[in-house]
């Protein structure tokens, strides 16, 4: 009996979300009275650091063919390790990789699942855990009855905590099946923070009037070290790239701080951002629905107020 956490890496580096997942795994293991084992796939730099975040053991399957993602192969390998160590709970990140695995792995292990959880499970008589449903408009409590359970943890719901010390990673022996998917090319947007992982997000909508006006938004994102996002019509009219589209039919995010600039706050937009910890709305219409979902509001013309805000942010960062 153990909790197994698959700690994802990108280009050989472990990400903050992997540390979050390990801390979540550590706390889940405490609830169940067991220990937390982390697993990395492919070549990964310094896997032993996962010990710091709560893994009592770190296993590595470093077969080179695991450097590229293949859901079928990953599922099989994670499944083998789960069986070897007798894992009762398998934890993934709710990232695009994790989301591609959560269903597949639960079918492989004949395990009930809860994708996108954002609380620790409880285990008094029944194993229960909460997740958002209806695009963040409600919360569901899921009960899992099978001996093995698969969870994926929503990013930015738990912060990594230093609860242990580095451990030395151990290689694990697995059969890596032949892959059926060939990765031809990987293109990551360079230099900027990927939107789903960003803690600060600056987002703008149709109130911007046109793509030529985005410099003030990009400037603000740069000062803050934030990712940029946009509303759906802005992406649909190609003012901004599609990967910036947030909302019910775009990316769902939960940053610590979300700036909504010239966005009305339609229900479908809110569905993708209403789990942000703090929301700041800049809109010239006092009736804009977004103000109802905001923590701080500025009712003014964005073309006046954003340059002023940028100056205030610059002053702040040069003094702090």
């Amino acid at each position: 009996m153990s909790v197994l956490v698959f700690a994802e890496s990108t280009g050989g580096a472990l990400k903050k979300a992997a540390f979050e997942a390990v801390t979540y795994g550590y706390k889940t293991a405490q609830v169940l009275g067991t220990d937390c084992v982390a697993l990395t796939l492919g070549e990964v730099e310094n896997p032993g650091q996962l010990g710091t975040y709560g893994a009592s053991k770190v296993l590595t399957a470093s077969d080179l063919t695991l450097n590229d993602f293949d859901g079928q192969v990953y599922t099989d390998v994670i499944g083998q390790v789960a069986e070897q160590i007798g894992a009762t709970v398998v934890i993934l990140m709710h990232s695009s990789t994790g989301k591609s695995l959560v269903g597949r792995l639960s079918a492989r292990l004949n395990a009930g699942s809860a994708p996108g959880v954002n609380t620790l499970p409880t285990n008094d008589g029944a194993f229960r855990v909460k997740k958002n449903v209806f695009s963040g408009k409600a919360i569901a409590q899921v009960e899992i009855s099978s001996p093995v359970k698969v969870l994926s943890v929503m990013g930015n719901s738990f912060q990594p905590e230093t609860v242990g010390a580095e451990v030395s990673a151990e290689g694990v022996s697995v059969n890596v099946p032949a892959r059926k998917v060939t990765v031809k090319e990987v293109n990551r947007v360079k230099g900027t923070v990927p939107l789903p992982e960003a803690e600060l997000v600056v987002s703008a909508g149709r109130g911007m009037k046109g793509p030529e006006n985005w410099a003030i938004i990009e400037e603000m994102a740069e000062i803050l070290g934030a990712a940029t996002a946009c509303s759906r019509p802005v992406a649909d009219t190609h003012w901004r790239p599609h990967h910036e589209h947030v909302g019910q039919t775009g990316v769902a995010i939960r940053p610590n701080l979300y700036f909504a600039i010239g966005i009305s706050g339609a229900i479908q937009h809110l569905a993708g951002v209403n789990n942000s910890k703090v929301i700041v709305v800049i809109n010239k219409d006092p009736e804009a629905p977004f103000f109802k979902a905001a923590d701080y509001g500025i009712c003014a013309d964005l073309f006046d107020v954003v340059p002023k805000l940028n100056q205030a942010l610059k002053d702040f960062y040069s003094n702090n």
Partner: protein, 246 residues
């Protein structure tokens, strides 16, 4: 080419969400239901485009009660050839996936399409589960796809970027924005859909391993604090000292 498209029914995006008295069930009263947008706009339309280009059939599958037939009819009006409904009230993703996989096994489909997630449960699970039951690759978050014989080249969303992969049929795919453009059914499609058959079948036995036991509403937001537009220093101070996010 034989294509199977999984479609589900979800509350309209503007639906006001509420629950029954003991919070154990979603309150369907007064709710408008629609076909899950990812299934309709992207998965179904791309399947129809492939059929139009290379010939074949597009079959819809839905796991649900008779009231779901309206959604299925819409899919038929958009251009699917036929449909099957597994008659039951599903309670878990694994149950749904099992039903789809059992049906798909018989049919020998070249591709099974689904949407990247449903907008109600937001699970992103069914496609991967079906693929595992069928022993096939699962390509998630596909935003572009071309087919050359039996080899598909697919662009998919990954964290902060895109990945291009190659895979041979048969496989299961989940559709994201970009894979196709939404189609509005025309009069001819709607008329034809009336004559198309929905094959209603009984589910295979499968025990649910996970179920939703209760729902709650997220905690209410505190009142929005309005800031003087001429005092952005104050906003920055509040974000730093009060909200502690910068």
């Amino acid at each position: 080419m034989k294509l199977l498209v999984c479609v589900s029914k979800t509350p309209d995006t503007t639906a006001k969400i509420s629950f029954n008295a003991d919070h154990s069930e979603f309150n369907e009263e007064g709710i408008q239901f629609i076909m899950n947008p990812y299934d309709e706009w992207y998965a179904l339309v791309r399947a129809i485009e492939l059929k139009e280009a290379a010939g074949g059939t597009v079959t819809l599958i839905n796991i649900g009660p008779a009231s779901n037939d309206q959604i299925i009819r819409k899919g038929l009006a958009i251009g699917a050839d036929d449909a099957v409904r597994i008659d039951c009230q599903p309670k878990s993703s694994l149950f749904v996936a099992k039903q789809i996989a059992e049906f798909a096994k018989e049919g020998g489909y070249d591709m099974v399409f689904c949407g990247k997630e449903t907008i109600d449960y937001n699970g992103s699970e069914v496609g991967g589960m079906v693929a595992e039951y069928l022993g096939q690759p699962f390509i998630s978050y596909a935003t572009e796809m071309t087919l050359d014989g039996t080899t598909a080249t697919i662009k998919r969303d990954i964290e902060g970027g895109k990945e291009t992969i190659e895979v041979a049929t048969p496989f299961v795919l989940s559709a994201a924005k970009g894979l196709a453009e939404q189609r509005i059914p025309n009069m001819r499609g709607i008329m034809q859909a009336r004559r198309k058959q929905i094959d209603v079948r009984q589910p295979v036995a499968f025990d649910d391993l996970s179920t939703v036991v209760s729902y709650e509403m997220p905690p209410a937001k505190a009142e929005c604090k309005m800031i003087d537009p001429d005092n952005m220093t104050e906003l920055v101070r509040l974000l730093h000292e009060e909200a502690k996010v910068i």
